[in-house]
Each structure stands twice: as structure tokens, then as C-alpha cells.
Amino acid sequence: MSEAVTPQRNVVSRLWNDKETRSVIIQIIAIVLILGFFAYIIRNAMINLEAIGKGFSFKFLTQASSYDINQHFIEYNSRSSHFRAMLVGILNTILVAFCGIVLATILGFFLGVLRLSKNWLTSKLAYVYIEYVRNVPVLLHILLVYGLIVHSLPVPKQAWGLADTAFLTNRGLFSPKPLYEPLFWVVFALFVAAVIFSLWFRRYAQKVQDDTGYHYPVFWITVGAVIGLPGIAYFLLGSPITWEIPELKGFNYKGGMVIRPEFIALWIALSGYTAASIGEIVRSGIIAVNYGQTEAAAALGISRERTLNLVVIPQALRVIVPPLTSQYLNLTKNSSLAIAIGYMDIVATIGGISLNQTGREMECMSIVLILYLILSLLISAAMNWYNRSIKLVER
């Protein structure tokens, strides 16, 4: 009966049943659908923007922003441009992400070790902390910590002082501000030189150890160079820093350096939250190292401490680093929740107030999205580089 089938249908069914052509057909359909979808929404956007006479341009970035940002590292006031507001926002995001990553890593390793501790009580305490933190939304942590700071810390008049130089209040942590005198650059130059020297020295010591087996006390020499050298210079030059100590004037402290409660709350909440996940990652990483490795090190007569440093941790790091990277990315992305407590990061500046003032939703949101994509890419690139450097080198 096969002659009854028309040749046309035959061709179609043959094409469809051939793996190569079928995949080409499917892909053509997919690309037409995707491009059609994008063309449709872009056309809609153009028509809609036309209708309200907006257009798509980034000219507004040069206009005056006319709002204040209470934490800025570069010169900024309400007459500065929206572009400058964006830069301030980026710096604030990077600051809280960087501080958060550092603190979360320290706390996380600490928690992971506590979880593995032989002591039943401490291990259970760490477990309770981790379970509580992981099962409650991070936004809630941020609001809770912020609420605690604002409602439970004393007002400036009854501030908790630390030796009358630093003061903790519900308006933030006021600490002395260093004022650099001209000679300070000598100390700073020495510090930079010491850092470069210790980087070189580490390589040199490694080479000497590989060639001759002689082991330099690298850690102590590095500490001596980086801290000792600038320290001695600092005192020889007659302490070229004066400190501006904050003073209570009226209802608040004036002068000195202030770390705002928004920053403190965001920093503590984000690091505490991420530390719980890092703790679990560290724990599973250390467990993943076969116990035979520790026994083998003991059989070779390596001391307990150096077993940990030279045998267990390098192997555990290989398991730990990839999930650690995604935790760092999460922390950076979660820092966008700053907007809930009014910390001025990227989302709150360019994606918040600038957006509302100029009405440029498209432009502002694309800037925010692109900035976050760049940040994420940079962090993954850095962590991938680190991951490659600790990877197992096989023959």
C-alpha cells in the first residue's frame, strides 16, 4: 500500500525522520521563535516609549542628581551628576560585599571547625546556629539586626565608649579618623615595598625548599617585613598621624570617622547568613579528605599542625572552593537587599532614587543589571583562577 502515499508527504516524513535534518529544522524554528519574541517586545517598547515621548538615551546621567548619599568615598553632593551617584553606589556595594566576604569566610571556617569538634556541646551549638540562620530569609536577618541596632543600642548621649576614643551608638560606630601628615608617605612606601618583598620571598623560599630541602620560617619573616618595618619607621619619624577624635555636640557626635548603622547591620547580617552555608561547606570539605591521608602523614613523622596545613587543608580546599565561589556570589547579590534599610548601594542609588527622579526605568535598570553581571563575572573569574592554582596536578 506504500504507493498510495503521496510523494510530498514522503519527503516531509523522510526529512523529519532523518536525525541531521530534524535537528536543523528544530533549530531554525527555535531561532525564529526567539528572534520573533525579541523583535516583538522591542517593537512594543519602541511604540510605548514613542507614545509617551521618552526615547532611550543616557543623557540624564550628566544631570544633577539633587539627592544626598550619606556614605560616599569619592567627592559627592546633591549637585553632582547621576553618573557620580552611580559610582558612589558601586563603591558602596563593593565595600559591603568585600567586608562581608572576608567576615563570612572567617566565621564560616570557624563554624565548620566547631561543627566537627569532638566537644558535643560546641558542635551542637554550632548546629543550632547554622539551622536557625539557614532556615530564615536573609532579608529578615537584615531587618532584625538593623532593628536591634536602632532600638537596642544607646542614644549618642549614653554611648558605649571605648577608652573615650570610639563610641558605639544607635547612630553608628564613631571612631577616630586618621589625619595623615606629609611624612606618612614614607611609612606607606615601606609597607608597599615590604608586601612586594614578601611575595618575592615566598617564591624564593619555595624554590630553596624544592632544591635543597631547607625550610625558611616564611610566616615570621613575612610578618616582620609587613608589620615590623613600617612600624619601626612610623615611630622613628615621630608618629606622622594625628587622630581626630569624635566629640559629642548637641544630639550627635561630630568629627572622627563614622560607620553607619545601615552598613553595620547589612555587614553583620550578610556575613552571619553566608557564614552558616560556608560552615557546612567547610565541614563537608574536611570530611571528604580520606582519614588515611592523616594517618599516612603521621606515619611519615609529620607533626599534627603541619599535617593539617600541608596535607588536610590543601586537599579539602579542592572540595571547598567551587561551592565557596557561589556563596561569595550569593553574598554579593544579596547585598542588593540594602535598599530595605536604606544603605545606598547600586540598587538604591541608580536603580532607586535616580530612577524615580528621572523616570528612566529602562536605562537605569539596564545599568543595574549590567553592573551586577560584571561584578558576578569578576568574582567568578577570580575564584576560578584561585581554583586552578590549587587544583590537583596530575602526571
Binding site: S23, I26, Q27, A30, I31, I34, I41, N44, A45, I47, N48, L49, A51, S117, K118, N119, W120, L121, T122, L125, E131, Y132, R134, N135, V136, P137, V138, L139, L140, L143, L144, G147, L148, H151, L329, K333, N334, S336, L337, I339, A340, V347, G351, L355, E361, M362, M365, V368, L369, Y372, L373, S376, L377
Partner: protein, 369 residues
């Protein structure tokens, strides 16, 4: 009795020495084995001594459970003011859903339980019919909550409280898994265009915070629709949350797919199975089983992320709490509100995590060590 003699191998096992069993030995082993251990035990006990009594006092013993306003509470007791929470309980549960229609929320909640049970446990009677019901549930619930077809319509801006959390969470969970599976298969696909599309979608979504996507949904999305067409804000949020979770889900499932030995794919080819049957019958059951813990973790993450909707103005429990704090009668009680909401999230998320452990044990078919 002591004179009794035994033939070799007949002697009953004697109990272990007294200093190796019982609570004393346990304490010696787990709390006091080394000097460091002793120091840590002392520190931990000191910490507990400082924290636990204070917390119990604040939470229960010194807390006020009745009162008209904040000053009333403070006059009664120095601890937490739970009167605030109990007065607002209805608001926390239903949001601004019309009072005379709240039975519909209650029924939806009961139906939700009925729909979840057959999915979670395989020993329930009539499981097959239960599963059909579970598939139909989202539509029934949508009808009950939104109204129409004989029920009074309710606008979605009236949704709020725990009910809103459940609406977003359940929708996101139900739809992100299938989309995530498709994206993961797309990322592993042999067809370059499908692969490029999946990779760019997944990496874009994973590179930006959810909050920016929600901003996109609330400020920009209307520009991309034809003039005159608008989406409801809740629907836009639901779409964004689902897409966001499905990108993470795709990565989790890709991990599972990569763990399947190549021989399994080849075996499926050898059996003459086409792509979809091979995936459905051979690859996905194994891949999904391996990725259960991570899938549940993604669900928990999604569920926790529902709180972010307060930033674009939806009133989930956290939003209700923050709005209530603005009431001058109850100002300054943020700790109580946040703790209350935290307990709600803790119970739901901890429950999900426990269920994932149970499932992991149940599905473990290889030999335990």
C-alpha cells in the same frame, strides 16, 4: 553460682566495665576529654548561662500577652509584647482579603494539604487519584482565591500575609521544576542554538539579584507589552520568581545529569529509544534522584526569597509587620514582629529540609556502608 563452669564458647557476655558506660562516661568522652575540650565546654556553658535565661525571660516570663497598645504592654511587663501579634494575627494570615470571603482561603489551604500529601508520601491510599488532584490543584486554588465563575472576584492587591507567601512559594515550586528540567536538558543538548539559548538564559538570571528582576517586573515590564495590555503585579512577580528559581533548578539538575555515566545514555540508544523516551525512562529518574537534596535546597531558597516582594510593595507577613510597625499604637516593636515571622519561616523551611533527608534515605538503593 560462681562455681559454675562453662565449656569454651558458652560463657555469656559480661556487661562492660562501669566506667565505660552511662552518663558519666559519656560526659568524660564528649565534654572533658582534653584540656581544650574542657575550656570549650566551660565557654559553651557560660554562653548558655548568659543567653538562655535572658531569652526565656524576654520571650515568655516577662512577656505581655494582652494589652491595647505598646504602653499597656510595657506597663505590665518588661519583656516581649505579644499582644501586638495576637491583635494582628488575622492580618498576618490573610492580608487584606475580604473578611466575608476568607473561608475560600481556608478551603484552599486544606486542599493544598490534600494535594501535597500524595506527592510527598507514596503509601497513602488512592495515591493515583490523589496525584490527578494535585495536578488540578493549582487551577482549583486559583479559581477559589481569585473568584469569578460564581464566586465574588477578589483583586490580587488584596492578597497578603502568610497566604501570599504560600501562593508565591507553591506556584514557584510547582512551575520551576519542569522549566528547570527543560533548561537543564537544553544546556546539555546536541543542538547548538538550543544550548546557547539555555546557557545565556541561565547565566543571565544567575548573575543578577532577584530584587533587580522584581524591579524590572514592577517598573519595566509594561513597556514590553502591546499598548493597553497590562499584567497584574502579582502575576508579574510570580513569573519572575518562577524564572529565577528555574535557572537555579537547571544548574542543580545539570549536576545530576553530569553524574549519570555515559553508558546509560549509550544503553538507551542501543535499546532504540528516541530522545524523549530515553530521557523520561532512563536518564531523568536517575539524575533527579541524585539531585534531590539540592532541589529541595533550591525550593527552600525560593520560599525564603518570597520575602523580597515587600520591596516592590506586596504585603507578605514581613510587609504586614513593617506596615503595622508604622502604627503609632504599636511603634518600636520590631523585634517581636521579626521574630514571629522568623519562626514561621523556620518551621516551614526546616520541615522541607527534614523531608528531603527522609526522601534521600528512602531512595537510597545502593548498599549502606
Amino acid at each position: 553460682m560462681s562455681e559454675k563452669t562453662y565449656t569454651p564458647g558458652e560463657h555469656p557476655d559480661l556487661p562492660p566495665p562501669a566506667n565505660l558506660i552511662g552518663p558519666v562516661a559519656w560526659i568524660r568522652k564528649n565534654l572533658l576529654s582534653t584540656p581544650t575540650n574542657i575550656v570549650m565546654t566551660v565557654l559553651a556553658i557560660w554562653f548558655l548561662y548568659e543567653v538562655v535565661p535572658a531569652a526565656v525571660n524576654w520571650l515568655f516570663l516577662d512577656a505581655a500577652f494582652t494589652g491595647e497598645n505598646r504602653d499597656d504592654c510595657r506597663a505590665q511587663a518588661s519583656g516581649a509584647c505579644w499582644a501586638f501579634i495576637s491583635e494582628r494575627m488575622k492580618l498576618f494570615t490573610y492580608g487584606f482579603y475580604p473578611i466575608e470571603e476568607r473561608w475560600r482561603v481556608n478551603i484552599s489551604f486544606l486542599l493544598l494539604i490534600a494535594a501535597i500529601v500524595p506527592v510527598l508520601f507514596d503509601k497513602v491510599p488512592f495515591r493515583k487519584f490523589g496525584l490527578y488532584f494535585s495536578c488540578a490543584f493549582p487551577f482549583i486554588a486559583a479559581w477559589l482565591l481569585l473568584g469569578g465563575y460564581g464566586l465574588t472576584p477578589v483583586e490580587t492587591d488584596k492578597f497578603g500575609g502568610f497566604m501570599l507567601t504560600l501562593v508565591i512559594g507553591v506556584t514557584g515550586i510547582a512551575f520551576s521544576l519542569p522549566i528547570g528540567i527543560l533548561l537543564a536538558l537544553g544546556r546539555q543538548s546536541q543542538l547548538p542554538i538550543i544550548r546557547v539559548f539555555s546557557v545565556s538564559f541561565i547565566e543571565f538570571i544567575r548573575g543578577v539579584p532577584l530584587i533587580t528582576l522584581l524591579f524590572v517586573a514592577s517598573t519595566m515590564l509594561n513597556y514590553f507589552l502591546p499598548a493597553g495590555v497590562t499584567f497584574d503585579l502579582l502575576l508579574r512577580v510570580l513569573i519572575m520568581v518562577t524564572l529565577f528559581a528555574s535557572a537555579y533548578m537547571a544548574e542543580v539538575i545539570r549536576g545530576g545529569l553530569q553524574a549519570i555515566p555515559k553508558g546509560q545514555f549509550e544503553a538507551a540508544d542501543a535499546m532504540g529509544l528516541k530522545y524523549w523516551p530515553a530521557m523520561r525512562l532512563i536518564v531523568l529518574p536517575q539524575a533527579l534522584k541524585i539531585s534531590i537534596p539540592s532541589i529541595v535546597n533550591t525550593f527552600i531558597g525560593l520560599y525564603k526569597d518570597t520575602t523580597l516582594v515587600i520591596i516592590i510593595g506586596l504585603l507578605d507577613p514581613l510587609g504586614i509587620g513593617r506596615a503595622s510597625l508604622a502604627d503609632t499604637k504599636w511603634t518600636g516593636l520590631s523585634n517581636e514582629v521579626y521574630l514571629f515571622v522568623a519562626i514561621f519561616f523556620f518551621i516551614s523551611c526546616f520541615g522541607m529540609a527534614r523531608y528531603s533527608l527522609y526522601l534521600e534515605n528512602k531512595l537510597q538503593t545502593d548498599h549502606k556502608r
